[in-house]
Symmetry: C2
Subunit: 290 residues, 2 copies
């Protein structure tokens, strides 16, 4: 999608957030932030937010000496989601339309995004689940089911830790032998990496790869050749979250985006209210089918 | 007050806002923003937000070639406030406690602050007025009246355009011959300058000076010697808005702050809810009196 200058303050906020609880004193935090600001002054400000975010967090990690600034938040999000998981799975199994409820709930899990919002409490997640069950759903479940049935190979692009546990609700309803789950190639904000896929129990269920890069989205030209091959050969790509939308919405591939529209820029771009559940099918074949 | 790193993204947002409607194309806007970011990378990030904001907007004006980026918004705010003024003045005159209602309404007018919020619609102002009439009021009106009565010289520090028309509701209830109104020394965000005091009809009512500097607050060491002399000789200083609070809350002088707590940082610092009406008496003599 087009980049908006409004994203720039939000990227600076991400940097502020990332060092707030890193155990640095005020002067050390100021040093990191000055480095980030100076570097942003040299950036292409029309690049995608995930591209700028990747570079910003690379700088923060290098200067703070902390390789994974969100480790404890990711752990807490996974634990919360794992506590909620058994009951949610039962609700999905007993629903009138289990696939629709699974889609709603995996989108609800997209609230666990520390790139968009500073901090997150358990209450936010509970609220997101309740909202997802009751809210209007901007998507065509039948077309999604058809696209899944028609696809021999499905690539599922995970978004965040915690959220990835929710993703299992949908992945369990897909033809697992045809599914590959892709996580990020390294720690970036609270995005899921292989460790989170393991904690979510997904590594025993589907093939799991990483995309070879540490942006909070999917910047194809920076991803590994192996990932790119999977991407271009997939019959269906299920892409979770804002970061994947921001980086893939203009890519000509059979992608279904599942996200919560969490910020004003995305909501305006998608022409929906903030907080909406969004499923968008996109690419050469819409509805997606071979 | 202490500066919080959370203010840094907000300062970047101010810069983004300031060039959005300035008639620059994307690349020109990006150039301005890159200059701002680079310069922020050299700043003392523990300086007050108004000090950083002053420098940022100085850069934006220099690079964009536009001397007053908020001219049209200031004009619109004044016009809106002037339309509302006659009815509000009648309401104050007919109130059980006219001074309290005047205080509430001049604080309501502090919603017209483009430093804190991107954009502002007439509805925001109407809502702020309704809220100000009904909301709890965190201030001691009797102590304020006593301080006014005891003061031979009163310095009233205006905040924003539009808001300055609301200020007239209070200024009309003060002993005018003892009041000096101070505006900013040059255009900065939508802060009021002498032109706005004139539009508000205040120049015929009280003595009007400017503070000799163009920060969105009162940075005493940068203000003119004439202003500083008035400041230090005033028996009572009435300081409107967040910017004046941010720059004067640690100054040992008889200041009454009147503001709406519009951002999470200020609300947390003042230990109140966002949107609260706040009157704080501060300085060597609290309650303020000679």
């Amino acid at each position: 999608m087009k980049t908006y200058f409004e994203c720039i303050p939000c990227l600076v906020r991400q940097a502020v957030d990332s060092v707030r609880d890193a155990g640095l004193d005020d002067e050390e935090q100021a040093d990191v932030l000055r480095t980030v600001l100076r570097e942003m002054g040299e950036m292409d400000l029309l690049a995608s937010p995930p591209a700028m975010s990747q570079r910003i967090h690379e700088l923060v990690r290098a200067q703070s000496g902390i390789p994974d600034l969100y480790a404890s938040q990711k752990k807490a999000s996974n634990e919360l989601a794992l506590r909620l998981f058994p009951e949610l799975r039962e609700e999905v199994a007993g629903a009138n339309d289990p696939l629709e409820l699974a889609l709603r709930l995996v989108i609800a899990g997209n609230i666990i995004d520390l790139g968009v919002k500073s901090g997150l409490c358990d209450g936010d997640v509970h609220e997101s689940i309740e909202h997802a069950i009751a809210a209007p759903f901007d998507g065509d479940v039948k077309a999604f089911a058809d696209a899944v049935n028609a696809a021999d190979t499905i690539l599922y692009l995970a978004d965040n830790a915690g959220e990835i546990v929710f993703d299992r609700l949908l992945i369990e309803r897909l033809p697992r032998e045809r599914v590959t789950l892709a996580v990020k190639g390294g720690p970036i904000i609270n995005d899921a990496t292989r460790a989170d896929a393991e904690v979510a129990g997904l590594c025993d269920m589907v093939s799991v790869i990483d995309n070879g890069f540490d942006a909070p989205g999917t910047i194809l030209e920076k991803c590994s050749p192996e990932f790119r091959e999977r991407f271009w050969n997939a019959d269906l790509i299920i892409a979770k979250g804002q970061g994947n939308f921001e980086t893939l919405s203009d890519v000509d591939a059979p992608v279904v985006f599942l996200l919560k529209a969490k910020c004003p820029v995305i909501a305006r771009h998608l022409d929906c209210e903030i907080g909406s559940l969004v499923m968008r099918m996109h690419g050469a074949s819409v509805p997606v089918a071979r």
